[in-house]
Symmetry: C2
Subunit: 339 residues, 2 copies
């Protein structure tokens, strides 16, 4: 940068006090006479002083920033992140918590092996005080790498066995059961499901929860097709399902985007929703309300979960909480027009 701006020293000289006093004023420490505070502030404004963060971090060992990391291993990673409202909701939940404490949020994307290595290196060199991680794949090595690097870390989703870090999570099996029981109660007996990719952290939890609930009612065979969380993949999955299992009367999909795609396809094929086939989504994202018919869906309070994730990390940084605190949220079924 070459940003040779004025320093504390300059302000001190200008205001006729010592560096220490200026530092106290800048950092809002009490024990400074009001009139001196005043003159220091004036001096700062007059010469346009800005603290040097590097110098500050060097002694405090703090950066005042927290990283929000989106990590995945597959291809077209950014394409997914920037077309699924889910991540926007996470950001929406995290930002206010951090802003309130004047912590600078920085978004980091780890889209490849190399990127992950660079990112960990960056963070352990002091790029941020802690990390909030949203892993898109079950076996993402990043959380372990971060924990191993000694960085305070909180995950969106349950950590793998042995990873000692904080997390927030949704009770996914419970959510899937909610969907299943609702379908059962409304008379559906031949359900199918559009599941998440096997690599998604929540995939099997939702799938198994759904199956088990129906199994408990004696329905043991539930067809499954995998989607990729996108509207388009939902359409394709629905096409497969309809072709291979024409008798189904209900569909449960692992997120609202796929559910929307499924509905689109059903409509185009002249299959009435919910008349012939009832449909239940997951997340309760904006897509759920924009779809026609509006989607019955399992609500995941993403913003609140993200906010909790940020709060957990901040409290850990303040030393007010252990590094492995967790918070699990309960899903709620939102019944709309698709069932």
């Amino acid at each position: 940068m070459g940003n040779r701006g004025p320093t504390l020293e300059d302000v001190a000289r200008e205001a006729g006090v010592s560096r220490a006093t200026v530092s106290r004023v800048v950092n809002g420490v009490r024990n400074v006479a009001p009139d001196i505070q005043e003159s220091v502030r004036e001096a700062i404004a007059r010469i346009g002083y800005t603290p040097n963060q590097a110098a500050r971090s060097l002694v405090t060992r703090r950066t005042g920033t927290v990283a929000l990391v989106l990590s995945a291993t597959g291809r077209s990673f950014t394409a997914r992140v920037f077309s699924d409202p889910f991540f926007g909701r996470v950001v929406d939940g995290v930002l206010p918590v951090l802003r309130r404490r004047a912590i600078q949020p920085v978004l980091l994307v780890a889209e490849s092996e190399q990127a992950r290595a660079q990112l960990v290196e960056y963070l352990r060199q002091g790029g941020a005080d802690g990390a909030l991680v949203v892993p898109l794949d079950e076996n993402d090595p990043l959380p372990s790498m971060l924990v191993a690097a000694g960085l305070p870390t909180v995950l969106f989703g349950r950590p793998r066995d042995g990873e000692r870090c904080g997390y927030v999570d949704l009770d996914n099996p419970a959510g899937a059961r909610l969907a299943a029981e609702h379908l059962w109660a409304t008379g559906r007996r031949r359900p199918a499901t559009i599941a998440a990719p096997v690599t998604a952290p929540t995939a099997e939890e939702r799938l198994d929860g759904f199956r088990e609930a129906f199994a408990a009612h004696g329905v043991t065979s539930v067809p499954v097709v995998r989607g990729r969380f996108t509207v388009d993949s939902g359409r394709r999955a629905m096409a497969r399902l309809l072709k291979d299992h024409p008798g189904i009367d209900a569909v449960f999909a692992a997120n609202d985007l796929m559910t929307q795609g499924a509905c689109q396809y059903l409509r185009e094929q002249g299959v009435s929703v919910p008349g012939e086939v009832a449909v239940v989504g997951f997340d309760d994202s904006v897509a759920a309300r924009k779809a026609r018919p509006q989607l019955t869906t399992v609500r995941q309070p993403v913003e609140r979960m993200a906010a909790a994730m940020a709060t957990l990390l901040v409290e850990q940084l303040d030393g007010a909480r252990s590094g492995t605190a967790a918070k699990v949220f309960e899903p709620v079924l939102v019944v709309r027009e698709s069932t």
Copy 2:
């Protein structure tokens, strides 16, 4: 953090050399005997040394990071950013350029007045060596603030008058003309357009370019409805257009998402595309190929533009280029099924 890890000093002692020598090895400076390099590297590995970025920045005045800033003034900002593939394309273009030079990319979002202020403060305190800015609104104050703060800045889109910073841009009027001439050449005489919000940087350029081209052919009245870049707003705009101007035979929309919405609505109303109404989009995003019919669209090479933006900044940081270098790209018309 409290990350009291090993320091240069420790490595020096371990390897039996001076701090200066270790520093040279770490920074890849020549003039270090091979055997000494070897033993220093061993020592580093043995004690697990990581350089402290704050200490380094303090003397070099460099952070080795570049910020990619998404800035907007309106509501539901994150909802838009994380559902429009456009931003993913920008990220896709920027990342490889930065990674190649081992520069850490950090994404910053400026979603409010307060956020913008914090962000500028963060950056001038040395949060990054430079900024790549994608302003979503015409009158975004952020670029000026950054330039005023003395931060090397490159914009996606032309800067406002008097802002002395680098930029990349698309020749938007030319793109709109491409669309108009194509529609004219294929016999369309009653065009309408779904424009961007008046606040969008490119809105009037695309709108005027389109109008002027048709005006040159004697078609002086072109109905306009404003959308908000989303599929849904495209649907609504199309509904308005069809209601108020039932005679139109062509539609030009300011991005592919709105175009997709327009097509959906037309289909649902039983209006054939391109039979009765021809449709042209803008961007050539993935949406263009996923829509049915596949969209004829004005291609904006977003990834290449973003890569150029990053390159411009990096060259400026290297001192190899002035701070006001610009690069303007030419659009191309991609003819598919919707015209």
